[in-house]
């Protein structure tokens, strides 16, 4: 569609193509030109060949010497009065070319850390499409840079330096201790108890689970040991840590007790055998459908206490159905929690402590996590009394999906009981929050000040999406942050509010980095001018929702990229536009560049190709 003068200015260097027929003698204006935003699609459709096309800034004001039709690229032979514009050599991801500019950044950002001259690094990060980022190279990078430049530049930017060097007194707001109890065997017995490293689950508890929920018609418990991983299972609705609070501690602080080596797994169908899933489901052999070691997935070697819940026919796609399946399963978990509360400290095998550290004077950032709130299984229980429990929690759908502020430690302590089980590859299981990589990465980075985490539900209706999104904007505005992350799970419908969150935050002048599964299948359906900084969570080989549990969820490697990107954007660096098609090489290149700079290798997680091939994958995907 024709563009405005403003758009023409933004796209001054892009090719000039007529949007409509223009007659001989027409003086080219912005309104004659097609929007460069759709060129990729037009080229893909074979509608457009941009060879020899002049740029928009060259053609504005030039006169057409021949009547040309729509989608005609403007070339020198049909125009007179072309503006001569010096075309600079294309600036690509050549770190050397960017080095001097970055020098300045370097001086601002990293002087306190180490007096090593750096270069700037352009990083290309994959999204639905791909993205370039520039990263200040802190440590020993940028051989091409003249060291002597650094101090001079540093002086030239005194404000920045002062900011960076402001004596930052770290402040521990609160702490959370996790006590780990090792479980090596799970058995059934007359009562639920833990003896040494053996967990017993009371025989017959199933009937109580069934009776506790009107919509639950049946519930089976299977204890899956590693030898039994090649067992058929209905779709996996959730993976949960088995944890409880100690004494008077509340979720997010004090002491949490957690069992190692065992997890709860909720699976189920409705009475007609329909999987409780929406876009795909992960039923099949467990070892073929679980992406091991994702934050939200089981670790290889863990024992699963797997419930197979049957809910009343037809309730799989209504809110009460999936909720009943979760609540029934929690009946078992709660009984284990009661037992855990009595455990002796002698059984503790490991203790870890998480400090919520505030770093005044550092760049203040917030993490906005969009969670699903469309209803049915797209719901989350927020802030239960016990980690990933049910009791005391409020479903975010009932809360109107409005944004809720939580501390990073509340996230890591199971404040979200996730009902979102689909599509399996991109949704965040309850366990994901327990090990949330972005929260961990940002919380532990000494260069930024993580002020908190905002959860915002993704409602079904667009009007409600914008309603909650505007609240996110206001909330982030009040926090006076320097930057924000927006993450989402799944793809499609939720991208509407995901985009709106970017807009609401971006329009307040706050740099924002988005994280989502996009790649091929999850390519963003909407966008706005604030969505320039994106990190793609895709891991799958083909860039698709492959129905392998947690395959495409946010992992440490994504958190590292996102944090690097936000740091750069907060320093005013531009992130290069995405490539026109998903290109997995962008991510690997960027990761390599980051590890070159930081000196720390970034280990990429495996994808579904490391799993035995399932029949479904063979037929549908690979």
């Amino acid at each position: 569609m024709s563009i405005t003068a403003e758009t023409a200015k933004e796209h001054a260097k892009d090719p000039a193509v007529l949007c409509c027929r223009a007659e001989e003698g027409t003086v080219i204006q912005a309104a004659n030109l097609e929007d460069p935003a759709i060129f990729d699609d037009l080229v893909d459709s074979g509608l457009l060949n941009l060879d020899g096309a002049l740029t928009i800034e060259q053609v504005l004001g030039a006169k057409l010497t021949k009547t040309c039709d729509s989608l005609c690229p403007l070339t020198a032979d049909v125009l007179e009065g072309i503006k001569e514009i010096e075309i600079p050599a294309p600036v690509k991801e050549e770190p050397k070319e960017e080095a001097p500019a970055i020098e300045e950044l370097q001086a601002v950002v990293a002087p306190a850390v180490q007096n090593v001259p750096g270069g700037v690094l352009k990083i290309h990060i994959g999204e639905g499409k791909d993205i370039d980022i520039e990263l200040p190279t802190g440590l020993g990078g940028g051989g091409a840079v003249v060291p002597a430049l650094a101090p001079a530049k540093a002086e030239a930017a005194p404000t920045g330096i002062q900011e960076a060097e402001k004596p930052a007194e770290e402040k521990v707001v609160r702490s959370l201790t996790r006590k780990h109890y090792k479980i090596t065997e799970v058995k059934r017995g007359p009562e639920t108890k833990i003896e040494g490293t053996t967990l017993y689950i009371r025989e017959g508890i199933e009937q109580e689970c069934i009776d506790s929920q009107k919509l639950v018609l049946d519930l089976k418990i299977d204890v899956i040991t590693p030898e039994q991983y090649h067992t058929y299972s209905e779709t996996i609705m959730d993976v949960q840590p088995i944890a409880c609070k100690e004494g008077e501690s509340e979720v997010g602080s004090g002491v949490t007790r957690v069992l190692d080596g065992v997890i709860m797994m909720v699976t189920g169908t409705d009475a007609n055998g329909v999987q409780i899933g929406e876009f795909g489901s992960s039923e099949g052999y467990l070892d073929e459908n679980i992406m091991w070691s994702r934050p939200g997935a089981p670790e290889k070697g863990e024992i699963f206490i797997k419930t197979q819940v049957t809910v009343k026919e037809g309730t799989n796609m209504e809110r009460p159905g999936p909720l009943a399946a979760h609540t029934a399963t929690d009946h078992i978990t709660q009984e284990i929690r009661e037992v855990m509360k009595e455990l002796d400290d002698s059984l503790v095998t490991d203790t870890e402590t998480f400090d919520q550290v505030r770093r005044p004077g550092k760049k203040k950032v917030v993490i906005v996590k969009e969670i699903m709130g469309q209803g049915a299984m797209h719901d989350n229980l927020v802030l239960p009394v016990e980690p990933v429990g049910v009791l005391g929690a409020k479903p975010n759908v009932d809360l109107g999906n409005v944004p809720i502020c939580v501390s990073p430690l509340e996230v890591l302590d199971g404040c979200i009981h996730a009902l979102t089980c689909i599509g399996p590859a991109s949704k965040e299981m309850s366990r994901h929050y327990w090990r949330e990589p972005l929260v961990l990465e940002v919380l532990h980075d000494p260069d930024v000040d993580l002020c908190g985490v905002i959860f915002v539900g993704s409602p079904q209706i667009n009007a409600e999406k914008f309603y909650v999104s505007k609240r996110v904007g206001m909330m982030v505005e009040m926090m006076d942050v320097d930057g924000a992350f927006v993450t989402t799970e799944g793809f499609g419908n939720n991208h509407i509010d995901f985009a709106s969150h970017h807009e609401q935050i971006g329009m307040r002048g706050i740099p924002v980095v988005g994280m989502s599964f996009c790649a091929v299948q999850g390519a963003l359906v909407v966008g706005n001018k604030y969505m320039t900084n994106m990190v793609d969570n895709n891991k799958s080989e083909s860039g698709i929702e492959n129905e392998v549990l947690a395959c495409n969820t946010l992992c440490p490697e994504d958190a590292i990229r996102a944090l690097a990107m936000l740091k750069n954007v907060m320093l005013g660096e531009d992130v290069a536009a995405a490539e026109k098609k998903w290109n997995p090489n962008v991510k690997s290149t960027n990761v390599e560049l980051i590890s070159n700079v930081t000196g720390k290798p970034v280990e990429l997680v495996k994808n579904e190709q490391s799993l035995p091939m399932s029949q479904k994958r063979k037929e549908k995907y690979d």
């Binding site: 569609m1 024709s2 949007c19 409509c20 027929r21 007659e23 309104a31 097609e34 929007d35 759709i38 699609d41 037009l42 459709s45 074979g46 509608l47 009547t67 039709d69 729509s70 989608l71």
Partner: protein, 441 residues
């Protein structure tokens, strides 16, 4: 002659209030309904008896013998006579002319809309050819009433005979000129006329008065002259009947058809429908709507078109490109249904501006804002066919991308164009620029 039906709403504004009752004898020119707010008087177009005053209409049974003589309107100022005569914009918009001409133009322009842009209609041009004298009088009255210094006839250059007639007529008129227009659709939209003649593109919310002008349809001007010179109330309409009729698809142009006459009667007078047909349209191919045979004509009816049958898409997925220059979404969907298509995607032209009342107006009539993105959308949504109602320029743009994307293009007017033997709206082959007459004469 069958019963006549006078709709109480034949104009922009509120329906009129009936001032006659069942059993009343009426003459040609008897006031039968008066405005209850913004509106215009409605007069009987025949001698006869009121059969019924029901809901939205008054039904009159005509006498067997009809005289030419009519009940004259009251004498008064020229503006009052225009108001009294119940004249409304006869190009189709139906805005009360008495209100329109009440604007003081302070030496501005009366733009006479003789574009007759809807293909297949001929009565405006015929009027110029046959009755220029009275038409010109009307234009002068309009100038006088609204205090305009100049008048410009906007007419398509292709109407050579009418242009010649006009040239002769305005030759010795100091303040009346002719502006020639190219044969593309739409040129007759009010703001298009202002833009073409005065070079000023109005916002969709602006009236021509923002460019010191009033646009008056050529038939409206004629009715103004009739009201002032002949004291004749506005109760008749010029129109064209065309289409799949016995005797061929040549146009039947009727002058002074009594308002309230049924569509069926006019079709019968034109030979009757020839065999199976697609639909009957009241109005032009672009902006008209399907109608039933028993529907009466009003002061704004310009055309009655009987079309050939619709093609059958056998339920194929269809994208609709809605714009302001043709039928609205409901009309587009209606045609899609009649073609047995299944709407899978709806796009709206970037230039279609939604007015407060929900109707669409084009921001720059006849100048395309680009359509490639819409075609990409249709393709993405799985459409195999698209139905467009676009203007000449936009249709041309659609043709620049849709076929290459393997989208088969239908135009809303295709069934009419095929019926009347007019080229389909696809590629634009003529220039949008038209050479002007020396000094507009």
């Amino acid at each position: 002659m069958g019963n006549l039906q006078f709709l109480l709403r034949q104009h922009v504004g509120a329906p009129c209030e009936p001032v006659v009752k069942s059993g009343d004898k009426v003459k040609k020119g008897t006031l039968i309904a008066a405005p209850a707010g913004l509106g215009a008087n409605i007069f009987s177009s025949v001698y006869g008896t009121v059969q019924d005053v029901a809901g939205d209409r008054i039904i009159i049974e005509p006498d067997k013998v009809q005289e030419e003589e009519f009940v004259p309107i009251q004498d008064g100022s020229h503006l009052d006579m225009v108001k009294e005569a119940g004249i409304v914009g006869m190009g189709g918009a139906g805005f009360p002319t008495g209100v329109k001409l009440g604007t003081d133009l302070n030496g501005g322009y009366i733009l006479v809309n003789a574009v007759e842009c809807e293909p297949g209609l001929y009565h405006n041009i015929r009027q110029i050819e046959d009755n220029i004298e009275m038409t010109l009088k009307g234009v002068k009255y309009c100038m006088e009433i609204s205090n305009a210094a100049k008048a410009v006839f906007a007419i398509k250059a292709k109407n050579k005979k009418a242009v010649e007639t006009l040239r002769k007529a305005v030759h010795d008129e100091d303040n009346i000129f002719i502006h020639l227009l190219p044969d593309i659709y739409p040129m007759g939209e009010e703001r298009a006329v202002v833009r073409e003649v005065l070079g000023k593109l109005l916002d969709p919310t602006q009236l021509p008065s923002a460019a010191d002008s009033i646009v008056v349809n050529v038939e409206t001007a004629l009715r103004v002259a009739e009201a002032i010179d002949l004291k004749k109330p506005c109760f008749s309409k010029n129109l064209t009947v065309i289409g799949k009729l016995h005797g061929g698809n040549a146009p039947h142009v009727y002058m002074d058809v009594p308002v309230g006459t049924s569509v069926e009667e006019l079709i019968e007078r034109s030979g009757g429908i020839d065999g199976v047909y697609g639909e009957v349209i009241m109005g032009g191919p672009f902006t008209g709507h399907s109608t039933a045979l028993d529907v009466p004509i009003t002061k704004t009816t310009g055309g009655i078109i009987v079309t050939m049958e619709f093609p059958d898409l056998h339920g194929a997925p269809v994208g609709l490109l809605i714009c302001a220059c043709a039928g609205n979404e409901a009309r587009m969907r209606e045609v899609c249904t009649k073609m047995n298509g299944n709407v899978v995607s709806v796009g709206t032209c970037k230039n279609a501006f939604e007015m407060k009342n929900g109707t669409l107006k084009c921001q720059d009539p006849g100048n395309c804002p680009g359509q490639a993105q819409k075609c990409l959308q249709f393709k993405k949504d799985g459409a195999e066919y698209i139905i467009i109602g676009n203007c000449s320029d936009c249709s041309n743009t659609v043709m620049g991308s849709a076929p290459k994307m393997k989208l088969k293009v239908f135009h809303l007017t295709d069934h009419v164009m095929r019926t009347i033997g007019h080229p389909l709206y696809r590629r634009l082959t003529v220039s949008k620029q038209e050479a002007q007459l020396p000094n507009g004469k």
